[in-house]
């Protein structure tokens, strides 16, 4: 159907294996000139692998790449870039200590042995003027916001005047405003005749920016569709492989006794951080209390104070009838407090260690896994295998390294480890941030199930829709205080938003 002239790129039968994993299995993809082609798939569907093959980072085990009508083989990203294919990586791959100009020169040929900083700065200014993306070449990259760092990464690619630009989940680190301006820039790029491959797992983004979309699942192409002729529900089904519940069925709340009681809690604030001030709240058994608020208004401090990770200056914390205000974290954990911290990769798992290590965390002390401080390997092995199966953590073996798991699988693993300890209180901070629809649905369902089992859940989330969908009551946190408390059933989004912004707080507005 496609006019051969229009097809910039054709990938045929691409296969790429890693030890224990088939990341791409006979993938076909074609990208036309002047289109935004979305690659949609769950975490781990093989999107990034496919694009890494395309930009010369990986060599495919099988398959061919036809670029502008000629078969090509890239030995390195530099070769791919020379032929006009550039990739903006999810983690940017910038050197934090270097300036913008220095980063832009990385991997480029210089004339002679010396590095002409002034020329580099001129180059940055030229490119940034060409594309209307202003930036100061002399600023060290580490001083830039995530959005600006991404701009540097994009300029770096654009400086090579590519015909095809690959964006790997570019919006995951951006604010909504930054994402909108990124989309604007992408539209102007395709308007000037360039093609874009856009890796994402977010359905709205596909619908708003992509011309066509190729859906990947488990390393295979499921379908390629015109965006105009599809809808989010169909895409979600193709991506996950079954119907996805966009709204979660929730049984009425049947709260029992207070599981967590916080009275007049005040904590010290780290420099530049918000401290909790005279904060009181209560979570009952079988209830989800949502904490709304603009991030950085004391959410982490609240979770850490309850979990025993942050010293309490005054006030009290009661968990299950015990005054745990000044207890050590280990003791609070053993009392039955599960804590799923914000930023799981950074705060909850050991990426360089195996799944066994990660799964037994918190249960690594005492019976039944480690009576007298010595591991019972058979018991541990059984425990780990059972949890991985029960919570459907997809991994070749318990010896697999955690960094090889996708975000959704890692979150499942953390959920498995926390819920398996039969907690009476679960603290969950942004438990679905960065997860695809399938994994998000799973995590939310699990939290509701825990609630229905009579456990108390403190759900801290930056996602208001998530709070409204899961919580029974919602408390609004602002500048370390609770500024409002509403029942989720009759919560008004706008009212909560105003409270988050500090409209009801008598003092200064929130950060």
């Amino acid at each position: 159907m496609a006019d051969a002239e229009l097809v910039m790129l054709k990938m045929e039968g691409i296969c790429k294996r890693f030890p224990g994993v088939v990341a791409n299995n006979g993938v076909n993809l074609d990208v036309r000139a002047g289109e935004v082609h979305a690659l949609l798939g769950e975490n781990g569907a093989g999107k990034t692998t496919l694009m890494s093959v395309l930009c010369g980072l990986y060599h495919p085990d099988a398959g061919s790449i036809i670029w502008k009508g000629h078969p090509v083989r890239f030995a390195s990203p530099r070769q791919a870039a020379a032929l006009g294919i550039g990739m903006v990586h999810q983690d940017f791959k910038l050197i934090q200590r270097m300036t913008v100009a220095e980063n832009m020169m990385l991997g480029r040929q210089t004339r002679g042995p010396y590095f002409d900083l002034r020329e580099a700065a001129r180059m940055v200014e030229r490119v940034s003027a060409d594309f209307g993306l202003p930036i100061d070449p002399r600023t060290p990259v580490r001083q830039l916001s995530a959005g600006m760092q991404q701009r540097v990464a994009i300029l770096k690619v654009l400086a090579g005047s590519p015909d095809l630009v690959i964006f790997d989940e570019p919006t995951s680190v951006l604010t909504p405003q930054e994402a909108e301006s990124l989309f604007k820039m992408m539209r102007s790029l395709v308007a000037s005749g360039k093609s874009i491959c856009f890796i994402t797992h977010k359905l709205e983004e596909v619908m708003s920016i992509a011309t066509r979309v190729t859906v990947l699942r488990d390393g295979r192409v499921i379908d390629t569709l015109e965006t105009r002729q599809t809808n989010p529900r169909e895409l979600a089904r193709l991506m996950v492989g079954r119907e996805v519940l966009f709204t979660i069925q929730k049984t009425p709340c049947a709260p029992g006794e207070a599981a967590l009681g916080v009275q007049h809690l005040t904590t010290a604030g780290a420099p530049g951080q918000v401290a909790l001030r005279d904060l009181s709240l209560e979570v009952r058994q079988g209830e989800i209390l949502g904490i709304a608020g603009i991030s950085g208004n004391g959410q982490n401090e609240l979770a850490e104070a309850i979990a025993g990770l942050r010293p309490v200056l005054s006030g009290s914390i009661k968990i299950g009838g015990f005054d745990t205000t000044h207890w050590r974290a280990e003791k609070i954990t053993d009392l039955g407090v599960a804590y799923i911290p914000d930023k799981v990769r950074q705060n909850a798992v050991f990426l360089d260690l195996d799944l066994t290590h990660n799964t037994i965390a918190k249960s690594h002390r005492g019976a039944p896994l480690a009576p007298h401080g010595i591991f019972r390997m058979r018991v541990i092995d059984g425990h780990v295998r059972r949890l991985l199966t029960q919570y459907r953590v997809r991994a070749p073996s318990p010896r697999t390294l955690a960094k090889q798991l996708s975000g959704g699988n890692l979150q499942r693993l953390v959920l498995a480890r926390e819920s398996s300890r039969a907690p009476q209180l679960i603290i969950a901070a942004n438990p679905t941030a960065g997860l695809d629809v399938g994994a998000t649905e799973y995590v939310r369902t699990q939290l509701l199930e825990e609630r229905d089992r009579g456990r108390a859940v403190l759900l801290i989330s930056a996602d208001l829709d998530e709070l409204l969908a899961l919580s029974d009551r919602i408390a609004v946190l602002c500048s370390g205080r609770i500024v409002g408390m509403v029942a989720a059933a009759d919560a008004d989004l706008e009212e909560i938003g105003l409270m988050m912004g500090g409209a009801r707080a008598a003092e200064q507005p929130c950060a």
Partner: protein, 371 residues
């Protein structure tokens, strides 16, 4: 290397993961491949180093074939040669195991040398000044003294890091000088053998009850080698089979996550440095009680520094550390033999060490590239 996308597992292997026999076979094959890979890598690095070293020796006007003959005959060609290799490998292994514990806990202990000197001092004090005791008890106390001396020096660095967030690399390097100079001061002054018979600065000899028994008769090989094997097992057991080892490895792998699962990371740093220093201290005790039989100001000739290379070469695995220590012991003994036989300067040993490390790194780099 692998990004989260590609590392993720599609449905098929996940289904197979339910089948334990498959997992087992897969796991064993994987482990064998990995072991063969790293062994091959080490061997090719060594071969490359030997070729370059041979070139340098030839430039010195010495026949490299003869030099290498002397190298291997001297180190592996006789009972005495093998005994000497064991004598050199033992302190390297003990200190290397100490370094392993610290590095696994994420603490960069560069201070094994100083910890060896403090361990030697502790062992010598217990050996010389303890009341007459039966040999097993006296030996045990000597070793405990060595451990305590090293643990003091290591623990001090750990405490400074935990309490004041001091950089442990700088602290441990500084403590090396302090430890070496402290022993130097003591053996030239307060602890010097005052019999007047010995001109060198050293303490009086240890009584027979404080001396490690011989391993191979009529050589210098002593039972410290068995101690090193035992310690290797204990370190493996500590790291892989105990709650304490779990906390140390967690703190080393990701301090943020360790804190969130309730581990006191500062405490872990101090414990790791106590153990690490203690094991280096055992190397010092081993030198005093097994080799020299008195304390001198050159009780360790750089074993502490070399033990860092030993630990890294051994892949921070106890068994690997033992093998690496034997290899480096052989390099030390062989180089001295080359010097005696064909007068290759003894500095050649540093060149060979450096060459092996560099070629190993290059090999690793090439291997990663090819993936």
């Amino acid at each position: 290397m692998t990004d989260p996308e590609s590392g993720q597992v599609p449905a098929e292997p996940a289904a197979r993961a339910q089948d334990p026999s498959w997992v087992h076979a897969h796991h064993v094959a994987d482990a064998v491949l990995r072991a063969l890979g790293s062994l091959g890598m080490a061997l090719s690095a060594i071969v490359a180093a030997i070729v370059v070293a041979g070139g340098i020796i030839a430039l010195l006007g010495i026949n490299p074939i003869e030099a290498f003959r002397a190298f291997f005959v001297g180190s592996l060609g006789s009972k005495n040669g093998i005994a000497e290799v064991l004598v050199r490998a033992t302190p390297l292994a003990l200190a290397g195991l100490g370094v392993t514990v610290a590095f696994r806990a994420g603490v960069w202990n560069i201070g094994a040398e100083g910890q060896i000197f403090l361990g030697a001092l502790g062992a010598a004090l217990v050996g010389i000044y303890a009341p007459p005791l039966p040999q097993p008890l006296h030996l045990l106390l000597v070793l405990a003294g060595g451990f305590a001396g090293g643990a003091l020096w290591g623990g001090l660095a750990g405490f400074l890091k935990a309490r004041f967030d001091a950089n442990e690399i700088i602290i441990t390097i500084m403590l090396n000088y302090l430890g070496i100079l402290l022993v130097s001061f003591l053996v030239t002054g307060p602890l010097k053998d005052s019999s007047g018979l010995i001109p060198q600065p050293q303490t009086v000899p240890l009584p027979a009850s404080a001396i490690l028994p011989k391993l191979i008769p009529a050589t210098r090989a002593h039972t410290g080698a068995l101690l090193a094997l035992l310690v290797a097992f204990l370190v493996w057991f500590l790291l892989k089979r105990t709650t304490l080892g779990y906390t140390l490895r967690s703190a080393g792998a990701n301090p943020d996550a360790a804190r969130h699962i309730g581990i006191n990371v500062k405490r872990a740093v101090i414990i790791a440095m106590l153990i690490s220093g203690g094991l280096a201290g055992l190397a010092g005790a081993n030198e005093v009680s097994g080799v020299q039989h008195y304390l001198t100001q050159d009780i360790s000739s750089g074993y502490g520094y070399l033990s860092i290379a030993v630990a890294l070469f051994g892949g921070l695995e106890p068994l690997g550390v033992i093998l690496a220590s034997l290899f480096f012991g052989m390099v030390l003994v062989g180089s001295e033999s080359m010097q005696r036989a064909v007068s290759v300067p003894v500095y050649m040993v540093y060149i060979i060490e450096g060459l092996i490390i560099v070629s190993m790194l290059l090999r690793q780099l090439a291997w990663r590239r090819s993936k």
